[in-house]
């Protein structure tokens, strides 16, 4: 337990000093502001293009923006923030293995498992803070300009997003236990996502896949209820725990 605290302090300090934390949180804040901004700008843009559209024979009526448009933007922009987070963290393990910086601490008697878990905890803290910050900012603006009560299950869908991101971070932990570089880790995580999407083509299997979690628009419009997502949430949580647990012995065997 003490090992874990030592490593966690080191990781958090590293995130602060390399400015990674600042960059990521800044990105989440920007995305959080962009969501309502794009929704708010949509009628203005349409108005500007309506003349040329009218020449082509397309007429655009009055466009009314609601909080639903804002949350659709949230659903569209969250993957970008998540991908940047994953790229940023993809080398968090492998760079230390290849540079050999971890050896110094391990030879002092700190355990490998606590190193793995502490890095995971640091990633999870960053992702949690960032994703909820982004959600909070979008929520605030959406409430300021429109009415959030039009959109259903906002908090549950945000929780689904958080869980999916945490699952992808577990993917980093798992692939890092044997991959050679950050690029390999990213390849593994990306490949896992593609495989999940391919399996998800079958509608029956889709309900149980982690990728189902980030399909939040049916939740917003009321076409789905949270209980439709419980199965995939349970699968995601189990897989996440499994990936981290599997990574521990693999890292122990790894030649550093």
């Amino acid at each position: 337990m003490r090992d874990l605290a030592v490593f966690l302090r080191k990781e958090l300090r590293e995130l602060v000093r390399t400015k990674r934390l600042l960059i990521l949180l800044g990105l989440f804040v920007v995305v959080g502001i962009m969501n309502p901004a794009v929704a708010k700008l949509t009628p203005v843009i349409l108005e500007m293009t309506s003349e040329s559209m009218a020449e082509m024979g397309v007429t655009i009526g009055e466009v009314k923006v609601t909080s639903l448009d804002c949350w659709t933007q949230f659903e569209k922009n969250m993957p970008i923030a998540l991908i940047v987070t994953l790229i940023m963290f993809s080398g968090i393990y492998t760079s230390e293995y290849t540079k050999g910086t971890l050896l110094l601490l391990l030879t002092k008697g700190l355990s490998r498992s606590s190193a793995v878990l502490a890095k995971f905890a640091a990633m999870l803290i960053t992702w949690s803070a960032g994703s909820w910050l982004c959600f909070g900012i979008t929520y605030f603006y959406s409430a300021y300009y429109w009415d959030n009560s039009l959109v259903n299950e906002l908090f549950f869908s945000a929780f689904c997003w958080w869980l999916f991101g945490a699952f992808m971070l577990c993917g980093i932990v798992f692939f890092s236990s044997f991959a050679g570089s950050g690029a390999h880790v990213m390849l593994g995580v990306g490949g896992a996502y593609v495989v999940m999407t391919l399996i998800g083509i079958s509608a029956k299997a889709k309900e149980y896949l982690p990728t189902h979690l980030i399909d939040s628009s049916p939740l917003y419009t009321g076409n789905a209820v949270p209980s439709d997502y419980f199965a995939s949430a349970a699968v995601t949580a189990l897989l996440s725990v499994g990936l981290v647990i599997a990574a521990l012995p693999l890292t122990k065997k790894r030649q550093l």
């Binding site: 920007v30 962009m34 203005v44």
Partner: protein
């Protein structure tokens, strides 16, 4: 237009502040370093200035910035 613009201010002000502080920090970082993970100074200056709406600086900070 004026009232319309005022309606956008709560969104625009934080975005403008974020954009320019990010741009300033990125330019400072580029000029205070000689080597980068990928590319050279000229390439990064072009990328950052052309894509100054967040994309350029973020690209630089992710793939151009050298770890210290």
């Amino acid at each position: 237009m004026n009232t319309e613009l005022r309606e956008f201010l709560p969104l625009l002000i934080p975005l403008v502040i974020a954009e320019f502080s990010l741009l300033g920090y990125t330019l400072y970082h580029i000029f205070s370093h000689k080597t980068y993970k990928h590319g050279n100074r000229a390439i990064w200056l072009v990328v950052v200035l052309l894509g100054m709406n967040f994309i350029g600086p973020i690209l630089y900070l992710i793939i151009g910035r050298e770890e210290e």
